[in-house]
Symmetry: C2
Subunit: 274 residues, 2 copies
């Protein structure tokens, strides 16, 4: 049985969850709400540059949990694949400048590139940038995405695939991210979380709504959907992960709210439904 | 390598593909177009009753390939699960009356029922109606649905799960349906199709569009999406299946077309992209 969360010491918000806020607004609001962790999306850094963003984050009491996102390795030409690797090296440098210990990889997919090829591009791409990550002391984490994103976002769609890639590359700098939204349906989820063990680098939560009105931007707040989040958290903790619990919600509906009310609602949901 | 299809002798249309047409309109139009097979959806039968629909189908030169759909076994109460089984026995009787040799099972899922429980309800439900199917000489086929339907349509989301259920119940009256839309993303698809072998009872095609604007009703005509249909057909044929190739497209866009034009377009796509 999984214990109830009693405080916000493990709560982390993705800046994408409160997308309308600038990085500065998000940082101040999260701090004021007593949230301890932040995962920063790149387009929230852009207006400040990495150095400016690092200053804002460094001046706050927030822990930078990860940078979202690297990846997107598949491309139809060798030049395209090279560009993707170069871009990932730049993202690694950005993470180092920000003090982000981890980059989440949305591995990529391109309609028309056969999945088997895309999966090879991903494995080769990660292998090629891993030494740069290690040199920068930045970890990389493969996040399997829901199969409904297999056409254009990620050809890595199950924990088993992610675990296989981690096993193939065997580096302490490479691990996996478990996101309940992407993986809750998987009959092998529990066993693959157990197999991942100490390679679980991060844990994302939100919920699956019925009906889901949009493939991308209709995710639910924890508790308003059908995902058994507490059980999955139990498996992840049993596997040895006790880091931040990151709330990542893409939602046109919630982005239209007063974002302070959204944060409040998320904090309640964190206590009752995570 | 898979050969090109040269004629329509293996082409079957689902009445749902031309949803605006009544059964009579569909039967006449398919025949006129030289299509040989028809899979009938229950709501297209309703206005005629099973006997009336059987007469329409019997008077045509079309082969009835299957009846869509049985299943929906999970329910939160024992009474609900009993009602689902009774309903499936009625559907089996309906298939027998129609002369449909096969019922496709959309196995069911209910938001809030844990997936592990739903999967057990499904296995138990199928086991309980199998003797009735055998007595009626009607086969049942488990169709794994895309994981994006795991909340409310089917808790069976991979070929591996379907194969495991078929293995567990071990009856010549139970097999699997391979639908490229639901399974194309699966890294284990090729091996699980091989494993299914002679248990493949039917094969459905359409395509995955990018972007997909609706989870249910935005499927593509073969060739306009990213699914490598010809390769999957090759695997299915290598596994020993040489039956009808069924076109099942749910699409608000195409349902708004002149349905004769849609059938024409599907026939072209069948030759070039299946």
């Amino acid at each position: 049985m999984t214990t109830k969360l009693l405080d916000y010491s493990r709560l982390c918000l993705h800046t994408m969850t409160t997308k309308p806020w600038s990085l500065e607004e998000a940082v101040h609001a999260y701090e004021k709400a007593g949230i301890k962790g932040i995962t920063v999306w790149r387009h929230h850094i852009e207006p400040y540059g990495a150095v400016g963003a690092a200053r804002i984050l460094g001046d706050s009491g927030l822990r930078v949990v990860s940078l979202c996102r690297g990846g997107f390795f598949p491309a139809s030409s060798a030049e395209g694949r090279q560009r993707a690797r170069d871009e990932n090296r730049r993202i690694i440098d950005e993470a180092a400048a920000l003090g982000a210990p981890l980059i989440v990889l949305v591995c990529g997919a391109v309609p028309g590139i056969p999945l088997a090829d895309a999966r090879q591009h991903i494995l080769d791409g990660i292998a090629s940038v891993l030494p740069h990550a290690q040199a920068a002391s930045v970890k990389l984490s493969i996040e399997p995405l829901h199969p409904m994103y297999a056409a254009d976002r990620s050809a890595v769609n199950t924990m088993e695939q992610a675990n296989n890639m981690v096993a193939a590359l065997s580096s302490p700098w490479l691990g996996v991210t478990v996101d309940v939204y992407h993986t809750w349906w998987d009959p092998m989820l529990k066993s693959e979380i157990g197999r991942a063990g100490k390679n679980i680098f991060s844990f994302h939560v939100c919920d699956w709504r019925t009906p889901t009105r949009d493939l991308l931007n209709d995710r639910g707040i924890m508790g308003e959907g059908c995902i058994d989040i507490r059980s999955i958290r139990g498996w992840v903790e049993q596997a040895g992960f006790h880091g931040f619990i990151e709330v990542e919600i893409f939602s046109d509906q919630f982005w239209a709210w007063d974002q302070s009310k959204l944060v409040e609602r998320i904090q309640q949901a964190y206590l009752t439904s995570v």
